[in-house]
């Protein structure tokens, strides 16, 4: 081949272009995909049952008319609260360090605030008793060790869960109406819906994922999604009443 100056430059530029864009060392696509959406309940939302706190005057003081059970909370448009939405498959064997900041769950007015919390494995969880009465913090996990500790007013408890689990029930034996849930994940892609039933999973790497929605009474629902870098996709999950309820 006759290698004159133009050919050499052309081949050189081509080689440079290939080198820069070689997948072996080119910069990976940014983790900036977003999956968001709403979780809805289809049908008539059952009336929450009434909780009588007369057993402990210190709880009754905060809720003189009692309180409502929080196992199914939805607004007039059927948007479901306290649904955990998360990636259940598709992350391969990527690992993530837990956040340094602690999450907090509070016993306030003899109810867990929030009712459902999602944290990462080995992330610190602070349990706070803001009431004037003693609670017991009793967790009943399936994948983590179960434990039970009393908590007088004001004395903080700090714990971690090392194994993923959706979700660990928490109860207080002194106040039987109290029920909370702690979901534990080995990755940061989860959200808990608020009053408006909406969720957002941010900073996703591009890929194909199974997204799961979990509700403490209504069960689970899954959807598959494929998402590219910098894309935003919207999903809707719909829960129906369980048969026989």
């Amino acid at each position: 081949m006759n290698l004159d100056f133009r050919r050499i430059t052309g081949i050189g530029l081509l080689a440079l272009y290939c080198a820069v864009n070689n997948p072996l060392w080119a910069a990976p696509p940014a983790d900036d995909a977003v999956v968001n959406g709403v979780v809805k309940f289809e049908g008539t939302v059952p009336q929450p049952s009434h909780v009588d706190m007369a057993g402990d005057p210190q709880c009754a003081k905060v809720h003189p008319a009692g309180a409502m059970a929080e196992d199914i909370l939805a607004d007039d448009n059927g948007r479901l609260q306290n649904v955990i939405v998360f990636i259940s498959a598709g992350l391969g064997d990527r690992t993530f360090d837990p956040p340094k900041d602690a999450a907090t769950i509070e016993q306030n007015g003899c109810m867990y605030r929030p009712h459902v919390i999602a944290i990462e494995a080995n992330q610190k969880l602070e349990v706070v008793n803001s009431d004037t009465t003693t609670h017991t913090v009793h967790v009943l996990p399936a994948n983590n060790p179960a434990w039970d500790k009393p908590q007088p007013p004001g004395s903080p408890i700090e714990v971690t869960f090392s194994q993923p689990e959706v979700a660990v029930p928490v109860k207080c034996d002194l106040h039987p109406w109290m029920r909370g849930y702690v979901a534990v994940f080995k990755h940061p892609y989860f959200a808990v819906t608020g009053k408006n039933g909406s969720f957002e999973l941010k900073n996703l790497p591009p890929g194909t994922y199974t997204i799961q929605a979990w509700h403490e009474k209504l069960g689970t629902a899954t959807q598959e999604i494929t998402i590219g870098a910098s894309e935003t996709k919207t999903l809707e999950f719909v829960f129906k009443p369980k048969p026989g309820s």
Binding site: L140, P145, A146, D148, L174
Partner: protein, 265 residues
């Protein structure tokens, strides 16, 4: 390859295979005795399977007729330990439970079995839960020397009984009839009653003040009884034990006066 090398490699491989097959749970030691899982399995099939089930999950054929139900060993959760709540028990905790039995339950004392047999059973029971293969038990709770049981100690203990929230389950007078008592459930969701300290019966995990001290520190995992290890100073806890030890006499006094049993406080 030379024959000696082949033999050596073969022997090493057999050794590795043997130790892997021996049982995943870490070894069991009680005093100078070592537990043997295979012997333990034979003993279990003879003495334990009818209640605790072939899978060790508490679903033996007798289980539906028992209250409380037999323990589900697959969870690695045990009532009587010397370790804090959430931790596995020590080998000696399981051995002691076998020997003592569990008061107010269908679990008898297995003291008629030899020490080696009980050690073998502990080794086999541990094989039902994967936790024993991957976790080590935490350090046992510290039990300081018992101070004298003075009237002041009893009075302080009575105050502690209220301030720690014990009366919520155990009732104002420790009779097991606190406001939360009717709703208590064990870790399988079955109703369970808090202890009546005025009854004078032995505690679930022993009968001495020292064992009572330990139980309050470790909690009784699988029941609503929590671990007070981080909620109270060890010296204070002896005051509580001294107070609790005065309650059986009150129970006897009540019985001799013919007072009726109130349903609930």
């Amino acid at each position: 390859m030379r024959r000696k090398s082949i033999l050596a490699i073969g022997a090493a491989a057999c050794g590795l295979l043997f130790s892997a097959v021996q049982g995943d749970a870490q070894e069991t030691h009680i005093g100078g005795l070592t537990g043997n899982v295979r012997r333990g399995e034979k003993l279990y099939d003879r003495f334990c399977v009818f209640c605790h089930g072939a899978r060790g999950d508490g679903t033996g054929e007798n289980a539906p007729y028992m209250d409380p139900r037999p323990r589900d060993f697959t969870l690695g959760t045990f009532i009587c330990r010397s370790t804090p709540s959430g931790s596995l028990p020590l080998d000696t905790d399981l051995y002691d439970t076998l020997g003592r039995g569990l008061i107010s339950s269908g679990m008898p004392s297995w003291n008629p079995l030899t020490r080696q047999q009980r050690t073998d059973l502990v080794a086999y029971v541990k094989s039902f839960s994967p936790r024993f293969a991957t976790e080590k038990p935490a350090a046992p709770v510290e039990i300081p020397e018992e101070p004298p049981a003075s009237a002041d100690s009893v009075k302080r203990g009575a105050q502690l009984f209220q301030s720690l929230g014990c009366s919520g389950c155990h009732g104002k007078e420790g009779r097991g009839n606190g406001p939360a008592a009717p709703s208590l459930t064990d870790n399988k969701g079955r109703p369970i009653s808090p202890f009546d300290f005025t009854s004078g019966t032995r505690f679930k995990c022993g009968q001495s003040g020292r064992e009572l001290f330990r139980d309050v520190m470790t909690g009784l995992d699988g029941t609503p009884m929590p671990s007070f290890k981080d909620a109270v100073k060890p010296e204070q806890l002896w005051d509580l034990v001294h107070y609790l030890e005065t309650l059986p006499a009150k129970g006897q006094q009540r019985a001799s006066e013919g007072k009726p049993e109130p349903r609930n406080q």
